[in-house]
Structures are given as C-alpha cells and as structure tokens.
C-alpha cells in the first residue's frame, strides 16, 4: 500500500473504481470531440478542431468529477452522470454554434459571449452536481423541514412577484445586486421536496377514501388541505406571473406524485378534470393564454407576428430532415437577425433538430428516457417512502419539463416558455438541474446513512406498513 492510499484509508476514504462510468464518459468525450470537429471543420473549410479550449476545459472537468467520485468511493449510479454530461456537452456545442452575440455579460471584468458564458454555467452546475452527490450523506435536512422549505419557496416567489423584472412577457427574473436568477426553477425542486415529505408521511391516510363527492371518492379533506394550499399558492403566483410552462410543470408533477404515493387512478382522473376546467377558465380570463392556443392550432393566421417563432421552427425541421444539415450549416440566423427568437433558450431543441436532424432529436429524447429509467430505478430501490417519492419527483421534474418544451417546439402541445433541462442557455436552469441530478446520485448511493425511524404516530405507521404490503386492505383497516 502506498503512503497516499494509507492517508486516504485512515481518513475513512476507500477509493472504489467506477469502470462503467469511465467507459461511458469516454464515449461521451469521443462523441463531443467528433461533434466539435464537425462544427470547426465546416466553419474553417478544412479538417481540424479549431480552437477547442472550451471543449477541453469541459472534458477535463468531467473527468475531474469522475476521479472525485472514485476517490471518495461512492457507490452511486454509474449511468446518470455520463448521461447528464452528454446533455451538457451537446449544450456547449450548440451554444458554440449559435451566434455568439445572443448573450453578452461581463463576469469578473471579462466580457463573455454565449458559449463561454454557458461553459461558466455548466461548470457551476457540475460543481453543484458533484458537491450534492458527494456531500449529501443524509436526507434529514430535507425531510425534517418540509414546511420551512415550502415557505421559503413561496417567499422567494413572492419576492419575484413584488420586485421581479419582466422578460419576454413574464415576470421571471429576480435581481439581487450583481446576481440575477429565475426562482421558478428553484421552486420546482423545493416543491418536490415538500410534496415528497408530506406524501411519505400521510400516504396511508391519503390512500384510504372516506369522503365521497358524488361518484368520486376523496381522502379525508383535512389531510389534503395543507398540500392543496401550498400547491395552490405556488400555482396562483406562477399564473399571475404568466409563467405558464412552470404552472403546467408543477401541476403534472403534483398529479404524478400523488398517483405514485397512493396508487389511486381516481386522483388522476379528478386532476385531469380539474385541468380541463382550469384550462378553460384561464383561456377565458387571460388573452395570452388564448394567443398560445390559437397559434398552436393555426400559426399561419399571424405569420409575421405571434406565429413567427413556431413557423420558423417548422421550416427548420423541414431543412433538417432525417440526417440534419450538419452542425454549422443550419440557418439559425439570417444576416444578423436570428430567424427563430429565443433559439438559445426555449427553442434550443429546434436548433438541434435542424442541424442534427430527426436522428439527433430522437437521440436527445433517448437521453432523457435514460434519465427517466435511472431515476425511477433509484426510486424503486430506495430505502423508504420519502426517498422513493423524492427520487420519483426529481426525475419527473426533468423529464416532464423536457416533454413540455419539446412538445411545444414540435407543435404537439401549445408552446409554453420553459427551458430544456441541461441543454438550454441559462444559469438558473443549469444550476438547479445540476442539483437535481446530484441529489438523484446521492439517493442512489448504497453507502448513505439509513433513513431515520418514522417519528409518526404508531397507528399511521402500522397502516403505512400495511399499505406497502397490501394496499387494498388499508381501506378495511381504517373503516
């Protein structure tokens, strides 16, 4: 044993190789270098990598994190990190490809453009990912203070509501000194933590039905109220801020988690009915909702105005075809005018689909499907209800968000502005999604602290145990 190894051992650190992760990261690196070469060669007119400093920095960072995982000997999922790394790498490539002057910001006295800025956000996101994966060894701080988390989240949103700045028709951005961010991104994680904590504690009661409204059986109302209230407040603020994408995301995640926790399809039916009613009410109340729906049904009714973005996107898919035009050969801008507004944020999927074609777009969806598979697997093998629900919720947040925005870009559902997780340009989005993947990794670690014994009343706990085994018997046990 070398002396370095002895120092590690005496500090309680036992390195553990992660060969599968290493192999997958190698493929990620190879793919990204190929992509970078394709872009640079097209631009320069001769084969070569061009100035690959950004890519080299990114790849070095990936392997540094891999080494950190190995040295600390974490027994975490080995697929999730390479998948996230592939997504963030594709993001870096796309930002390098898009017109650099879409965003300009100076950080620490240096004026940075689109791709370098995105690299800064990706790096920070990866730092948060690695930190939460390595240092989160217990989930007590999440499960114990669920109401405090919920209150903090709502408070944050209220701050935006009062002091936020309007970007793109929605009041989203909060500026605090030199920092600015979009708290609705953070709120989605806080909401999942709260819902997981609340549902894990009360799932036995919620799974039983004692209140009947007509033909629909509902759980005891007092148990549903705190959750509905929290969720309603969040949703109302989001709607008033006109952040429809976030509202849709919160609603779907809430419904899915409720179903996962209780296994009652009637909740889903009830929720979807509420969705239809709520949608109709919003459609009647807010003109911007009407706009979104009308453009979705017939974008050509206003081709130079409201329908411009989505029509341009459709042209882009047409140009891309099955194999794509190749990186660099698409038309995200004509002269100096971007042909699709918000190409680097909301419409980044279109930028990818144009230059990498339908095959590339399908590969991207495949990567999200992988995240879903790993996340649900982590949930299925979790030690207790809270961790299972938390893992489910975190996975859903990423996957549903991707589905909403890809669907919107493809004109499958009405377009609502929201970022494509781990791909879109943006600091808040990168940091929060980095934290989500990091938490999922921490949850998948088989070496973490065992969950605390339930501090719940005995009756409820006994019911909960039965609910896990024989969910059908719970109704009898309560009545």
């Amino acid at each position: 044993m070398t002396s370095a190894a002895r120092v590690l051992y005496s500090a309680g650190i036992r390195p553990r190789f992660r060969w599968r992760e290493f192999g997958l990261l190698a493929v990620v690196a190879l793919a990204l270098v190929t992509g970078w070469a394709s872009l640079s060669s097209f631009r320069a007119g001769e084969l070569g990598l061009g100035d690959a400093g950004l890519l080299a920095t990114y790849l070095a960072f990936l392997f540094a994190i891999h080494v950190a995982f190995v040295i600390t000997g974490r027994r975490m999922d080995q697929v999730l990190f390479p998948t996230a790394a592939m997504l963030a790498g594709i993001s870096l490539l796309l930002m390098q490809r898009l017109p650099p002057d879409l965003v300009q910001q100076s950080i620490a006295g240096r004026d940075l453009t689109l791709a370098p800025l995105q690299l800064v956000w990706i790096t920070l996101g990866l730092v948060i990912l690695a930190a939460s994966a390595i240092f989160v060894r217990s989930d007590g701080w999440l499960r114990r203070y669920k109401y405090s988390w919920a209150a903090a989240g709502i408070g944050l949103l209220l701050l935006v509501f009062l002091f936020g700045e309007v970007t793109g028709g929605a009041r989203l951005t909060l500026t605090l000194g030199p920092l600015s961010g979009q708290p609705s991104e953070l709120l989605k994680v806080i909401l999942v933590v709260f819902l997981a904590g609340y549902l894990a504690e009360n799932r036995a009661v919620l799974a039983a039905n004692s209140t009947k409204v007509g033909p629909i059986k509902l759980p005891p109302i007092p148990y549903l109220l705190p959750m509905l209230a929290m969720w309603g407040i969040a949703l109302a603020i989001v709607i008033v801020q006109r952040d429809l994408g976030a509202a849709l995301l919160y609603f779907l995640v809430f419904l899915a988690l409720l179903y996962v926790a209780t296994r009652r399809a009637s909740y889903v039916v009830f929720g979807l009915l509420m969705f239809v009613v709520g949608g109709a009410v919003l459609y009647g109340l807010f003109p911007h909702v009407q706009d979104r729906v009308n453009i979705w049904i017939d974008p050509f009714s206003d081709p130079q105005g409201a329908g411009y973005q989505i029509i341009r996107a459709m042209y882009a898919y047409g140009r891309g075809g099955i194999l794509g035009t190749g990186l660099g050969a698409g038309l995200p801008q004509v002269g100096t005018v971007p042909s699709i507004p918000a190409i680097h944020t909301d419409f980044v999927f279109t930028a990818l689909a144009e230059e990498m074609g339908m095959l590339g777009a399908l590969a991207l969806l495949g990567l999200y499907a992988l995240i879903a598979q790993r996340g649900f697997r982590i949930a299925a093998t979790a030690a207790d209800d809270f961790r299972a629900l938390l893992a489910t919720g975190l996975t859903l947040v990423i996957v549903i968000q991707a589905a909403i925005i890809c669907g919107g870009n493809l004109r499958v559902v009405p377009l609502t502005g929201i970022t494509l997780p781990l791909i879109s340009y943006g600091g808040s989005s990168m940091l929060v999604n980095g934290a989500v993947i990091g938490l999922l990794l921490a949850l998948s670690d088989r070496g973490v602290e065992a969950p605390p014994p339930g501090a719940r009343p005995n009756v409820v706990r006994r019911l909960g145990r039965r609910a896990r085994g024989l969910s059908g018997r719970v109704e009898e046990a309560i009545s």
Binding site: G23, V27, G35, E46, T83, L323, A363, L370
Partner: protein, 146 residues
C-alpha cells in the same frame, strides 16, 4: 465528392452515431441488469472471498457461496464454518433482507469488524465491503456471473 466534403459528412454522421453508441452501451448494460434480476431467483445471492487468513484456514482466495441467511462461526452447525482460533462458536450472522446485506455480531469474544469498524448491532453492507472475523479477512462480492 472531394475528400473534405466526405470527411465532413462522416464527422457529422459520426457525432450522431456516437450518441447512439452511448445509448446502446447503456441499454445493453440495463438489459444485463434486468436479466440478472430475473434469473437471479434460486441462485447464490453473493459470495464471501477470503482475502487473508492468519492460520491459513480457510485458504486465501477461497470463495464461499452465500444464501439469504448465513450463520458464521467455528461450530460445525454454522452454514459458514471458519476454523480459526480467534473465531467464536457462534460468531456472526450475515443476512440478505429485501435488497441489502446486513451483518450482526452474535456476542463473539473478539468481535466482528466491518471495514475496520467494530460491528455493534445490525449494520448494512454492500458488495466490496470488507469483514474481519477472528483473524480472517473476507470481502463480500457479487455472485459470479454464469
């Protein structure tokens, strides 16, 4: 078509193909995981590999197949018998409960150690963890793939 256009086209397609290679590698790994999970019933759940034994019994490198419940000790009635002077008659219990392995000391004289720490009560352990029972060091490993 000149060489440059061809290479550019190859790079372009190569990028997308490599993403699919990544997806394929993961899918294959998942498939193996699933198959191992399905066919895993009735097969050994894991094995203990002897890393080192002071008195040479059992010999280093020996692999001991594990069932769901394994009693470890010097007494011949244990499912895993370790004939070492420092091992008690009924030394420890290694069990597979649901999805994880647990080790428990059965009041042995010299104690059971998990990764160098004395086992007190019921402790979870994973594949790759190291046990010390008497003067014998053992490592918990996955069952050998067939």
């Amino acid at each position: 078509m000149d060489v440059f256009t061809l290479s550019l086209w190859l790079l372009r397609i190569g990028f997308v193909v490599l993403i699919y290679v990544f997806l394929f590698m993961v899918a294959r790994a998942l498939w193996h995981d699933l198959r191992a999970g399905v066919s895993g019933a009735g097969r050994p759940l894991g094995r203990l590999v002897v890393i080192a034994a002071q008195e040479g019994r059992p010999a280093a490198g020996t692999s001991l197949q594990l069932d769901a419940i394994n009693s470890i000790g010097r007494d011949v009635n244990n499912s895993i018998v370790i004939d070492d002077t420092f091992v008690s008659a009924d030394h420890a219990m290694l069990t597979f409960r649901g999805r994880a392995w647990y080790i428990e000391d059965r009041g042995s004289t010299n104690g059971t150690y998990l990764n160098g720490q004395r086992v007190d009560g019921l402790l979870p352990l994973g594949y790759g963890d190291e046990l010390q029972i008497g003067q014998v060091r053992l490592r918990l490993e996955r069952p050998r793939p067939e």
